[in-house]
Amino acid sequence: MTDLENLFNYYDFVQDDLKFMIKSRIRLNILSSILEYPKAMKEIKEENDLSFAAISNNMKRLLEENMVIKVEDKYLISQIGFLKLYSLMDFLKLMSTTKKFEELWLNHDIEGIPDFLLEDMGALQDSELIKANYADIYKTHTNFKELLIKSKDVCGVSSISHPDYMGIFESMLNGDANVTLIFTKEIVKKVVLSVDFKALSEVILNKNLRIRLYNGEIPVAFTVTDKFMSLGLFNCDGSYDQNRDLISTDKSSIRWAKSLFEYYHQKSEPLTIKNLAKIVM
């Protein structure tokens, strides 16, 4: 059986269950109101502003389907009901995140983000989409710099070079920040051509800075530190979209971006004087 046939079979197997849950908003709301604590009918009625008839009809159905258990006069969600509701809320979280940042994903290349992190995109729910406006064309850039200076532990992946960044990182390194950067060959080449080899060798030998080399295209540019994460994408035509930047200081977004960094880290190798020479030749 192919993967696709398998999925269609799975779908057919669960579709009645799904429809039972989805087709009534009242049932969903009853389940979510007893998610944390068992409640009596009266409490559920007040919380949801529903008629007694509507609740009792739907409660009966939920009991029949083993989604709810009645203990004395209270109703509690069954473990199966809990798992199902949990998965729907998780799905909803992803949907609202894709909707919230629709203009960032649409017409942009998302190939640089592996499937397991696309699925987990709901983690970015509390991020903010920073857009450049005409008054301050470098707004995304300025925000980025402010947050960066405060960070102690900096990881970055990029296939675009910002002339400023080298300077920012340099000033950070004079402090005690720990920096790991993953670059494509092209970026390394550009950097090499713009500074002298000796200065670059010093950077490579700096203990607080690790530069790593990624063999291939990276159609995403992002930075993640102990304080924030920032993510930019490429337009479908291959140019980098400088006008949009997803930024967040919340924990779950940072965790998501850390995993993305981990993904590229595993596929990269340290930049040594030896492989640097090879690239330049």
Binding site: Y10, Y11, F13, N29, L118
Partner: protein
């Protein structure tokens, strides 16, 4: 729990859920397009749905920016692509719930960390081994058969049966690598089982790696590179040795590895000094 538990479903959210999940036509079109662009005739073959119904579904999906047209083919947009991955997850998740309904119903799942409960769909292709009347020890004999050829194995154990110890000793005697996360109680019984000399030597050799965790764990899991098993506690609070969820899928094994790391971070590593 890491997910935000909403008190109710807003009208708009609810409409979105319904749009995607309550129609087998739209769901199936999305699944059919998951691997790349397809022509109408191919979608029809995949889904066994009539062309006119498919076209109607596609235009609804186009309106929501989930599908777009490219020449004679239809393709998921980047958002459609993200949604398709999650939709497939969800279907596998519900499949896992339904397939092992009694397993979830009769065991305590509340102590499984939220992040791991959320990704239970990795078990969509798993199976259950149960003790039978003829062979009450069935789940255990299966274990022993499985570990016989392994080079290493890891386990998270809040319970101990003599057979677990036999298995661990078997692994160590045959110079294989064992990594265990144990609760205090289990750690103490393990100490009694091995001679101190034997214990110290194996820890020194690096073949035996132990972590002690100071919090209750309500699941037992063993895994290696080719299997993972998951055992749970009954609702009455006792471990249920009669049923095990077993999988040989890579994603399920990775789930186990991440769970192991999750508990490892909360544990204390045992070395010669603090033995």
């Amino acid at each position: 729990m890491e997910i935000d538990l909403k008190n109710n479903f807003l009208e708009e959210d609810y409409e979105d859920l319904k749009f995607l999940l309550a129609s087998n036509i739209r769901s199936k079109i999305i699944i059919s397009l998951k691997n790349g662009p397809k022509k109408l005739s191919n979608i029809r073959e995949d889904t066994q749905i009539s062309s006119s119904t498919i076209l109607h579904g596609i235009s609804q999906l186009e309106n929501r920016n989930l599908v777009s047209r490219s020449g004679e083919s239809y393709v998921l947009t980047s958002i459609g692509n993200i949604i398709s991955l999650k939709l497939i997850n969800l279907i596998k998740y519900w499949h896992t719930i339904k397939l092992f309904k009694d397993f979830w119903k009769n065991h305590n799942i509340n102590e499984i960390p939220g992040e791991f409960l959320r990704t239970m769909d990795v078990f969509s292709n798993a199976y259950i081994i149960e003790s039978t009347k003829e062979n009450i020890e069935n789940p255990f004999t299966t274990y022993l058969e499985m570990i016989a050829d392994l080079d290493e194995f890891k386990a998270i154990l809040p319970i101990f049966f003599p057979r677990h110890l036999d298995a661990i000793q078997f692994m160590i005697k045959n110079k294989r690598k064992v990594e265990l996360i144990l609760t205090e109680e289990i750690y103490n019984s393990l100490l009694q089982y091995f001679s101190k000399k034997e214990f110290t030597k194996n820890i020194e050799d690096g073949r035996f790696n132990l972590w002690k965790i100071n919090q209750p764990i309500k699941l037992a899991s063993m895994f290696s590179d080719n299997f993972i098993s998951l055992g749970l506690f009954s609702l009455n609070g006792e471990y249920d040795p009669s049923k095990l969820l077993l999988s040989h899928d890579k994603e399920a094994i990775n789930w186990g590895k991440e769970l192991f790391d999750y508990y490892k971070e909360k544990s204390e590593k045992i070395d010669i000094k603090n033995l």
